[in-house]
């Protein structure tokens, strides 16, 4: 993974120092709260319902075990012993004190971490494919480009007061595991017929109150122009994006208003002036980043490991089920990708305790070259586990509660913190997730429900990505009461789509039974076990699901 040099270290240290001074000036009144707000936000510090919330950046989700131990330590020392993985591959602390934040930043800086630009109207943490570097379907590893773009966007002087927040995602694989269609800029690494690397740029996607899928504005931007082209997009947006209405200020609104073609033309015009300037990348520039992401020292192994094969045939059916659901193929023979499910019945989705973090760090050292990845579905990934070690790792994960065999399945619920923590929320989300999970624990044992993504957001800001859940739940407020809309048919994958509202909103305790009726309708109507929920919904349309939820007597 990327290693800081003297420059990077100095920048993070100077930032920690700067923020400490800003806090002093805020406390003695030289900065007003209004003026302090964008400063603290660009350091990841939100004022929440009950306390401050600090969002720590995990660039493209990649962590070392050493960093994870420091996160555990910080969580224990300055918070209440638990933290929250976010849907943008970051970590949130829910209860830090303002005066402790500079100390936290110092401790993070010591392990090359920070909270820079995890919030505010600036370029945010760049997200990527959790299987980056090991996916079998990869054109190129996206992480060198992510790191390059992280450095370009960090404290970019021109783009620190954008009309609104700005999120980038980069994927290098055929299957989209980074949800690029619902980002301000989604970048897909592609290869031309001549074998040259370039990028397809998708611009103006997003969720929130105006969900839109990003149109492709350029199908092939040459590798050398990755940064200059992105700068051209940002400059166009910074100059022309709306600033009169916060809810119309995202780039998606601009792209939609002028049209993707016209927006592309404006970007090209801007880019023509800067394409050959200092942002143009030389081959050696990219190589300099690539060398940090070389494959680890793999052992030469046979792919059909006999230890694993024997164990899979053994008495413990849990191992087989876990292997089928939580383990993915690796491109190196004899290795596997292991998903750690953070969705157990014991904790809200995405929550993690300090002790769990320490235990995971130890397992990463033992089983996966001391590294791990946070996913946008709020789980963790060990990317490089020997197949031979899978039974031993399974036993450890089971003990820790990370082996629930549900990755990508119904109880692998993506969920924002909701009204329990968040000042923006209209409704609780964690309690809905809990009710659904309880209801489905038994059901998923009985039926092979297959791939099914359930996403829950406590408000229209869509941190739980409900628009792209196969089943989405959105908490809304009606005359001071919590209600929930049910949406079906969304997807953040390669075949991205936005879910459609099924019918009238439901009260809190109706949500879990309604989701159950949707799933039972799917099981009743699917063409066969190989037809997934999403495929069935696309074939059947909403009618049978609507009937099941709103007119169960007839269904």
């Amino acid at each position: 993974m990327y290693q800081y040099d003297a420059f990077d270290r100095r920048i993070v240290e100077e930032r920690a120092h700067q923020f400490r001074e800003q806090v002093v000036r805020r406390i003695d009144g030289r900065i007003t709260e209004l003026e302090f707000k964008p400063l603290r936000l660009q350091n990841g510090l939100y004022l929440q319902l009950h306390a401050y919330m600090l969002r720590i950046a995990i660039p493209y989700g990649l962590l070392s075990s050493k960093q994870l131990r420091v996160l555990a330590d910080v969580t224990r020392k300055y918070d209440r012993g638990y933290a929250h993985w976010t849907t943008r591959q970051n970590l949130q602390l829910n209860w830090p004190k303002l005066e402790d934040v500079p100390k936290i930043l110092d401790e993070l800086a010591a392990v090359e971490m920070h909270a820079i630009q995890t919030s505010g109207n600036c370029i945010r943490n760049i997200t990527s494919d959790p299987y980056a570097g090991v996916a079998a379907d990869e054109v190129a590893d996206p992480r060198p480009y992510c790191e390059l773009m992280r450095q370009w966007s960090t404290f970019h002087p021109e783009f620190a007061a954008l009309p609104r927040k700005f999120k980038l995602a980069v994927t290098g694989a055929a299957e989209d595991r980074a949800a690029i269609a619902v980002h301000d800029i989604g970048i897909r690494v592609v290869k031309s017929d001549a074998g040259e690397i370039g990028f397809a740029f998708y611009v103006g996607g997003g969720q929130g109150r105006t969900p839109l899928l990003a149109p492709c504005i350029n199908a092939f931007v040459p590798e050398a122009h990755l940064v200059s082209y992105t700068e051209a997009i940002l400059r166009t947006y910074n100059r022309l994006g709306r600033r009169d209405n916060k809810f119309k200020a995202r780039i998606k609104i601009l792209v939609k208003a002028v049209g993707a073609e016209e927006f592309a033309r404006q970007v090209e015009e801007e880019h023509a002036h800067i394409a050959e300037g200092p942002l143009k990348l030389a081959r050696e520039d990219i190589e300099g980043f690539r060398r940090f992401f070389r494959p680890p020292m793999y052992e030469v192994l046979r792919d059909d490991d006999p230890t694993l094969a024997a164990a899979l045939l053994g008495k413990d059916r849990g191992l087989a089920s876990w292997f089928a659901h939580n383990v993915a193929p690796h491109r190196q023979p004899g290795y596997a990708i292991v998903n750690l499910s953070c969705k157990s019945p014991d904790l809200p989705p995405g929550d993690v305790t300090a002790d769990q973090m320490d235990a995971v760090a130890d397992l990463a050292d033992r089983f996966s070259f001391g590294a791990l990845v946070v996913t946008h579905r709020q789980n963790l990934v060990f990317t490089d586990v020997k197949k031979r070690d899978l039974p031993a790792l399974y036993a450890e994960l089971t003990r820790l509660g990370f082996a629930t065999p549900n990755v990508g399945k119904l109880t692998d619920i993506v969920c924002c913190p909701g009204l329990d923590y968040c000042s923006l929320a209209n409704a609780r989300s964690i309690s809905v997730a809990k009710q659904v999970a309880e209801r489905f624990e038994e059901l998923s044992k009985l039926y092979a429900v297959g791939e099914l993504h359930l996403n829950i957001s406590g408000c229209i800001n869509a941190c739980g990505h409900h628009h792209v859940g196969h089943i989405g739940v959105l908490g809304i407020d009606k005359q001071g009461h919590e209600f929930y809309q049910l949406m079906l048919g969304g997807s953040s994958g390669t075949d991205a789509s936005l879910g459609k509202v099924l019918g009238h909103a439901l009260v809190h305790d109706e949500v879990a039974p309604a989701v159950e009726r949707v799933v039972l309708a799917y099981l009743a109507h699917r063409a066969g076990p190989e037809e997934t929920f999403l495929e069935a919904y696309r074939r059947l349309g909403p009618a049978p699901f609507k009937e099941a939820v709103y007119d169960p007597a007839r269904a």
Binding site: F7, I11, R239
Partner: protein, 165 residues
């Protein structure tokens, strides 16, 4: 009003005497002295009494300024809200696209914690928002000893700087 100036050679300093006379749309031109006029009036000023400056805001189109740049000694950019970042892009376009080399001044809601970014984008003088401490502001330019990306202050991205050793 507290006026600061900053450049790479001399660093940051307070400017005591500001010779510029700011004129509105209507005020007639004086017989002598350096004047600032709004962008819309620029074309009407055929002969300035002294040096000439234009007043614009972040939303102004640099193309409208371009034909006048050769006779401007100062461009004053009004920043109505510190959260409005258009002035940053305007400054970069004036400097790098249009080659403007005269003074570029940020006025309005200008705060200490924006000064470094404003400077990096091409501003070299700053009228601090009322009530803000000038000593605080002077320290803003030395907070960072290294920056990742090229802007108007330098054109060497960090990856090239690393390669140079």
């Amino acid at each position: 009003m507290t006026l600061l100036a900053h450049d790479a050679e001399r660093g940051a300093r307070l400017v005591e005497d500001d010779p510029w006379l700011d004129l509105s749309d209507e005020t007639p031109l004086p017989s002598h002295g350096d004047v600032v006029v709004p962008l819309a009036r620029l074309a009407d000023v055929v002969e300035a009494p002294g040096r000439l400056a234009a007043r614009v805001d972040g939303a102004s189109d640099p193309e409208l300024l371009a034909p006048h740049l050769h006779r401007l000694a100062l461009i004053v950019v009004e920043i109505p809200k510190f959260t409005d970042g258009r002035a940053y892009s305007l400054a970069r376009l004036l400097r790098s696209r249009h080659g403007y080399r005269g003074e570029l001044r940020a006025v309005g809601y200008v705060l200490r914690d924006q000064l470094f970014y404003l400077w990096r984008c091409g501003f070299d003088s700053f009228a601090l928002a009322p009530g803000k401490d000038p000593a605080d502001a002077l320290a803003a330019f030395t907070e960072w000893s290294v920056t990742y990306q090229p802007a108007e202050d330098h054109d060497v991205p960090i990856w090239r700087r690393r390669r140079a050793g």
